[in-house]
Symmetry: C2
DNA sequence: ACCTCCCTCAACCATTCGGTTGACGATGAC
DNA sequence: GTCATCGTCAACCGAATGGTTGAGGGAGGT
Protein backbone atom coordinates (compact mmCIF):
# COMPACT_ATOMS: atom_id res chain seq x y z
CA UNK A 1 0.00 0.00 0.00
CA UNK A 2 1.35 3.41 -0.93
CA UNK A 3 1.76 6.28 1.49
CA UNK A 4 -1.23 8.25 0.22
CA UNK A 5 -3.54 5.26 0.65
CA UNK A 6 -2.20 4.68 4.14
CA UNK A 7 -2.85 8.31 5.01
CA UNK A 8 -6.46 8.32 3.83
CA UNK A 9 -7.04 4.92 5.41
CA UNK A 10 -5.60 6.10 8.72
CA UNK A 11 -7.95 9.09 8.88
CA UNK A 12 -10.99 7.06 7.89
CA UNK A 13 -11.54 5.88 11.45
CA UNK A 14 -13.16 8.47 13.77
CA UNK A 15 -11.17 7.24 16.77
CA UNK A 16 -7.93 7.81 14.90
CA UNK A 17 -9.04 11.27 13.79
CA UNK A 18 -9.81 12.03 17.41
CA UNK A 19 -6.36 10.84 18.45
CA UNK A 20 -4.80 13.16 15.90
CA UNK A 21 -6.96 16.00 17.16
CA UNK A 22 -5.87 15.41 20.73
CA UNK A 23 -2.21 15.19 19.74
CA UNK A 24 -2.35 18.68 18.27
CA UNK A 25 -2.59 19.86 21.87
CA UNK A 26 0.65 18.19 22.82
CA UNK A 27 2.48 14.88 23.03
CA UNK A 28 1.02 12.19 25.24
CA UNK A 29 1.71 8.67 26.39
CA UNK A 30 -0.30 5.72 25.15
CA UNK A 31 -2.05 5.44 28.49
CA UNK A 32 -3.09 9.08 28.49
CA UNK A 33 -4.37 8.73 24.95
CA UNK A 34 -6.29 5.57 25.69
CA UNK A 35 -7.92 6.79 28.90
CA UNK A 36 -10.94 8.65 27.43
CA UNK A 37 -12.12 5.80 25.24
CA UNK A 38 -14.46 2.99 26.12
CA UNK A 39 -12.06 0.58 24.52
CA UNK A 40 -9.14 -1.59 25.56
CA UNK A 41 -5.63 -0.12 25.66
CA UNK A 42 -4.57 -2.71 23.09
CA UNK A 43 -7.08 -1.36 20.61
CA UNK A 44 -5.73 2.17 21.00
CA UNK A 45 -2.22 0.82 20.66
CA UNK A 46 -3.24 -0.72 17.35
CA UNK A 47 -4.74 2.55 16.18
CA UNK A 48 -1.51 4.33 17.05
CA UNK A 49 0.44 1.78 15.06
CA UNK A 50 -1.73 2.51 12.04
CA UNK A 51 -1.14 6.24 12.46
CA UNK A 52 2.57 5.57 12.85
CA UNK A 53 2.79 3.51 9.67
CA UNK A 54 0.99 6.29 7.86
CA UNK A 55 3.71 8.65 9.05
CA UNK A 56 1.27 10.78 11.03
CA UNK A 57 2.77 9.96 14.39
CA UNK A 58 6.15 9.08 15.86
CA UNK A 59 7.56 7.81 19.13
CA UNK A 60 10.11 9.90 21.01
CA UNK A 61 12.01 6.68 21.76
CA UNK A 62 11.62 2.96 22.19
CA UNK A 63 11.58 3.45 25.95
CA UNK A 64 8.72 2.79 28.29
CA UNK A 65 6.14 5.56 28.52
CA UNK A 66 7.79 7.54 25.76
CA UNK A 67 5.37 10.13 24.42
CA UNK A 68 3.59 9.94 21.10
CA UNK A 69 4.24 12.87 18.80
CA UNK A 70 2.21 14.23 15.89
CA UNK A 71 4.00 14.70 12.56
CA UNK A 72 1.93 17.38 10.91
CA UNK A 73 4.04 17.76 7.78
CA UNK A 74 2.63 14.66 6.10
CA UNK A 75 -0.75 16.36 5.96
CA UNK A 76 0.71 18.19 2.99
CA UNK A 77 0.74 14.96 0.98
CA UNK A 78 -3.02 14.74 1.25
CA UNK A 79 -3.79 18.41 0.84
CA UNK A 80 -1.48 18.34 -2.16
CA UNK A 81 -3.46 15.58 -3.81
CA UNK A 82 -6.83 17.09 -2.94
CA UNK A 83 -5.94 20.63 -3.96
CA UNK A 84 -4.54 19.42 -7.24
CA UNK A 85 -7.78 17.87 -8.37
CA UNK A 86 -10.05 20.41 -6.76
CA UNK A 87 -8.18 23.06 -8.71
CA UNK A 88 -8.53 21.07 -11.93
CA UNK A 89 -12.25 20.70 -11.42
CA UNK A 90 -12.72 24.38 -10.67
CA UNK A 91 -10.70 25.31 -13.70
CA UNK A 92 -12.92 23.14 -15.82
CA UNK A 93 -16.04 24.73 -14.35
CA UNK A 94 -14.63 28.16 -15.06
CA UNK A 95 -14.01 27.26 -18.70
CA UNK A 96 -17.47 25.75 -18.93
CA UNK A 97 -19.00 28.91 -17.51
CA UNK A 98 -17.25 31.14 -20.02
CA UNK A 99 -18.31 28.79 -22.79
CA UNK A 100 -21.93 28.92 -21.71
CA UNK A 101 -21.73 32.69 -21.37
CA UNK A 102 -20.36 32.92 -24.89
CA UNK A 103 -23.14 30.71 -26.19
CA UNK A 104 -25.73 32.93 -24.55
CA UNK A 105 -24.05 36.06 -25.87
CA UNK A 106 -24.02 35.29 -29.58
CA UNK A 107 -25.06 31.98 -31.09
CA UNK A 108 -21.83 31.66 -33.04
CA UNK A 109 -20.45 28.14 -33.18
CA UNK A 110 -16.97 29.15 -34.21
CA UNK A 111 -15.22 28.08 -31.05
CA UNK A 112 -15.24 24.38 -30.50
CA UNK A 113 -16.33 23.20 -27.03
CA UNK A 114 -13.90 21.84 -24.47
CA UNK A 115 -13.08 18.53 -26.05
CA UNK A 116 -14.57 16.40 -28.76
CA UNK A 117 -16.32 14.28 -26.12
CA UNK A 118 -17.80 17.21 -24.22
CA UNK B 1 -20.77 6.20 9.13
CA UNK B 2 -20.39 9.98 9.00
CA UNK B 3 -19.65 11.97 5.87
CA UNK B 4 -16.03 12.69 6.74
CA UNK B 5 -15.31 9.01 7.30
CA UNK B 6 -17.00 8.15 4.02
CA UNK B 7 -14.87 10.73 2.23
CA UNK B 8 -11.56 9.47 3.59
CA UNK B 9 -12.64 5.88 3.05
CA UNK B 10 -13.61 6.61 -0.55
CA UNK B 11 -10.22 8.11 -1.36
CA UNK B 12 -8.32 5.30 0.33
CA UNK B 13 -8.58 3.10 -2.75
CA UNK B 14 -6.13 3.97 -5.56
CA UNK B 15 -8.64 2.97 -8.24
CA UNK B 16 -11.18 5.41 -6.83
CA UNK B 17 -8.58 8.17 -6.58
CA UNK B 18 -7.78 7.51 -10.22
CA UNK B 19 -11.46 7.71 -11.14
CA UNK B 20 -11.68 11.08 -9.41
CA UNK B 21 -8.56 12.24 -11.23
CA UNK B 22 -10.02 11.25 -14.58
CA UNK B 23 -13.33 12.92 -13.82
CA UNK B 24 -11.57 16.25 -13.33
CA UNK B 25 -11.06 16.19 -17.07
CA UNK B 26 -14.77 15.93 -17.76
CA UNK B 27 -17.87 13.85 -17.20
CA UNK B 28 -17.89 10.31 -18.51
CA UNK B 29 -20.13 7.27 -18.71
CA UNK B 30 -19.54 4.17 -16.64
CA UNK B 31 -18.30 2.30 -19.67
CA UNK B 32 -15.77 4.95 -20.54
CA UNK B 33 -14.55 5.05 -16.97
CA UNK B 34 -14.28 1.29 -16.72
CA UNK B 35 -12.44 0.78 -20.01
CA UNK B 36 -8.84 1.41 -18.89
CA UNK B 37 -8.92 -0.95 -15.93
CA UNK B 38 -8.08 -4.61 -15.87
CA UNK B 39 -11.22 -5.19 -13.86
CA UNK B 40 -14.85 -6.06 -14.49
CA UNK B 41 -17.34 -3.29 -15.23
CA UNK B 42 -19.31 -4.34 -12.16
CA UNK B 43 -16.32 -3.64 -9.94
CA UNK B 44 -15.98 -0.12 -11.35
CA UNK B 45 -19.71 0.37 -10.90
CA UNK B 46 -19.29 -0.53 -7.24
CA UNK B 47 -16.42 1.93 -6.87
CA UNK B 48 -18.58 4.65 -8.38
CA UNK B 49 -21.33 3.86 -5.91
CA UNK B 50 -18.88 4.33 -3.06
CA UNK B 51 -17.79 7.68 -4.49
CA UNK B 52 -21.43 8.63 -4.93
CA UNK B 53 -22.35 7.82 -1.33
CA UNK B 54 -19.39 9.90 -0.21
CA UNK B 55 -20.85 12.81 -2.19
CA UNK B 56 -17.85 13.02 -4.49
CA UNK B 57 -19.78 12.09 -7.60
CA UNK B 58 -23.28 12.41 -9.00
CA UNK B 59 -25.29 11.06 -11.90
CA UNK B 60 -26.80 13.45 -14.41
CA UNK B 61 -29.94 11.34 -14.42
CA UNK B 62 -31.24 7.84 -13.81
CA UNK B 63 -31.21 7.27 -17.53
CA UNK B 64 -29.12 4.85 -19.49
CA UNK B 65 -25.61 6.01 -20.24
CA UNK B 66 -26.03 9.16 -18.18
CA UNK B 67 -22.64 10.68 -17.46
CA UNK B 68 -20.93 10.62 -14.08
CA UNK B 69 -20.08 14.02 -12.70
CA UNK B 70 -17.48 15.09 -10.14
CA UNK B 71 -18.66 17.19 -7.18
CA UNK B 72 -15.54 19.03 -6.19
CA UNK B 73 -17.06 21.10 -3.41
CA UNK B 74 -17.05 18.29 -0.87
CA UNK B 75 -13.26 18.31 -0.97
CA UNK B 76 -13.57 21.33 1.30
CA UNK B 77 -14.90 19.12 4.08
CA UNK B 78 -11.65 17.21 4.12
CA UNK B 79 -9.31 20.12 3.60
CA UNK B 80 -11.23 21.89 6.36
CA UNK B 81 -10.56 19.10 8.80
CA UNK B 82 -6.94 18.68 7.78
CA UNK B 83 -6.11 22.38 7.75
CA UNK B 84 -7.67 22.86 11.15
CA UNK B 85 -5.37 20.40 12.85
CA UNK B 86 -2.32 21.15 10.77
CA UNK B 87 -2.73 24.76 11.81
CA UNK B 88 -3.08 23.76 15.47
CA UNK B 89 0.06 21.66 15.29
CA UNK B 90 2.06 24.41 13.60
CA UNK B 91 0.85 26.92 16.13
CA UNK B 92 2.04 24.66 18.91
CA UNK B 93 5.44 24.26 17.28
CA UNK B 94 5.72 28.01 16.93
CA UNK B 95 4.98 28.49 20.61
CA UNK B 96 7.46 25.76 21.48
CA UNK B 97 10.11 27.41 19.36
CA UNK B 98 9.67 30.79 21.03
CA UNK B 99 9.77 29.06 24.40
CA UNK B 100 13.02 27.31 23.57
CA UNK B 101 14.44 30.54 22.21
CA UNK B 102 13.54 32.31 25.43
CA UNK B 103 15.17 29.55 27.46
CA UNK B 104 18.35 29.91 25.44
CA UNK B 105 18.31 33.69 25.74
CA UNK B 106 18.20 34.09 29.51
CA UNK B 107 17.84 31.21 31.94
CA UNK B 108 14.96 32.87 33.77
CA UNK B 109 12.17 30.50 34.76
CA UNK B 110 9.55 33.16 35.27
CA UNK B 111 7.31 32.18 32.40
CA UNK B 112 5.67 28.83 32.90
CA UNK B 113 5.85 26.40 29.96
CA UNK B 114 2.93 25.69 27.67
CA UNK B 115 0.77 23.62 29.97
CA UNK B 116 1.31 21.80 33.21
CA UNK B 117 1.72 18.54 31.29
CA UNK B 118 4.14 19.91 28.72
C1' DA C 1 -41.23 -6.42 -32.27
C1' DC C 2 -36.79 -7.80 -31.53
C1' DC C 3 -32.16 -7.79 -30.43
C1' DT C 4 -28.17 -5.73 -28.50
C1' DC C 5 -25.60 -3.22 -25.55
C1' DC C 6 -24.94 -0.74 -21.08
C1' DC C 7 -25.38 -0.89 -16.43
C1' DT C 8 -26.84 -2.72 -11.94
C1' DC C 9 -28.33 -6.24 -8.63
C1' DA C 10 -27.28 -10.51 -6.09
C1' DA C 11 -24.62 -14.11 -4.38
C1' DC C 12 -20.29 -15.67 -3.34
C1' DC C 13 -15.25 -15.66 -1.89
C1' DA C 14 -10.79 -14.15 0.16
C1' DT C 15 -8.80 -10.60 2.72
C1' DT C 16 -8.66 -6.78 5.81
C1' DC C 17 -10.35 -4.21 9.80
C1' DG C 18 -11.65 -3.07 14.40
C1' DG C 19 -12.42 -4.93 18.44
C1' DT C 20 -11.81 -8.52 22.24
C1' DT C 21 -8.99 -11.49 25.71
C1' DG C 22 -4.75 -13.56 27.44
C1' DA C 23 0.14 -13.76 27.88
C1' DC C 24 4.44 -11.63 27.82
C1' DG C 25 8.51 -8.04 28.34
C1' DA C 26 10.42 -4.13 29.94
C1' DT C 27 10.58 -0.03 33.41
C1' DG C 28 10.55 2.04 37.48
C1' DA C 29 9.35 2.28 42.58
C1' DC C 30 10.44 0.24 46.74
C1' DG D 1 15.45 -8.51 44.19
C1' DT D 2 10.57 -8.07 43.92
C1' DC D 3 6.53 -6.33 42.37
C1' DA D 4 3.21 -3.47 40.06
C1' DT D 5 2.43 -0.86 36.03
C1' DC D 6 2.59 0.16 31.12
C1' DG D 7 2.67 -1.26 26.55
C1' DT D 8 2.88 -4.67 22.84
C1' DC D 9 2.39 -9.27 20.67
C1' DA D 10 -0.66 -13.12 19.29
C1' DA D 11 -4.78 -15.45 18.46
C1' DC D 12 -9.39 -15.10 17.67
C1' DC D 13 -14.04 -13.22 16.02
C1' DG D 14 -17.68 -10.65 13.47
C1' DA D 15 -18.30 -7.31 10.01
C1' DA D 16 -16.90 -4.77 6.07
C1' DT D 17 -14.10 -4.47 1.65
C1' DG D 18 -12.77 -5.45 -3.07
C1' DG D 19 -13.03 -8.52 -6.34
C1' DT D 20 -15.41 -12.31 -9.13
C1' DT D 21 -19.43 -14.50 -11.91
C1' DG D 22 -24.23 -14.89 -13.41
C1' DA D 23 -28.68 -12.97 -14.17
C1' DG D 24 -31.75 -9.28 -15.11
C1' DG D 25 -33.69 -4.75 -16.69
C1' DG D 26 -34.17 -0.68 -19.72
C1' DA D 27 -32.94 2.45 -23.87
C1' DG D 28 -31.97 2.56 -28.62
C1' DG D 29 -31.14 0.90 -33.33
C1' DT D 30 -32.98 -1.69 -37.12
Amino acid sequence: MDQLSRLFAALTDPTRRDLVARLTEGDATVGELAAPYDMSVQAVSKHLKVLEQAGLVSRAGPAHRSPVHLEAEVFDLMTGWIERYRRCAEERYRRLDTLLAAMNEGTSNDEQPLEETA
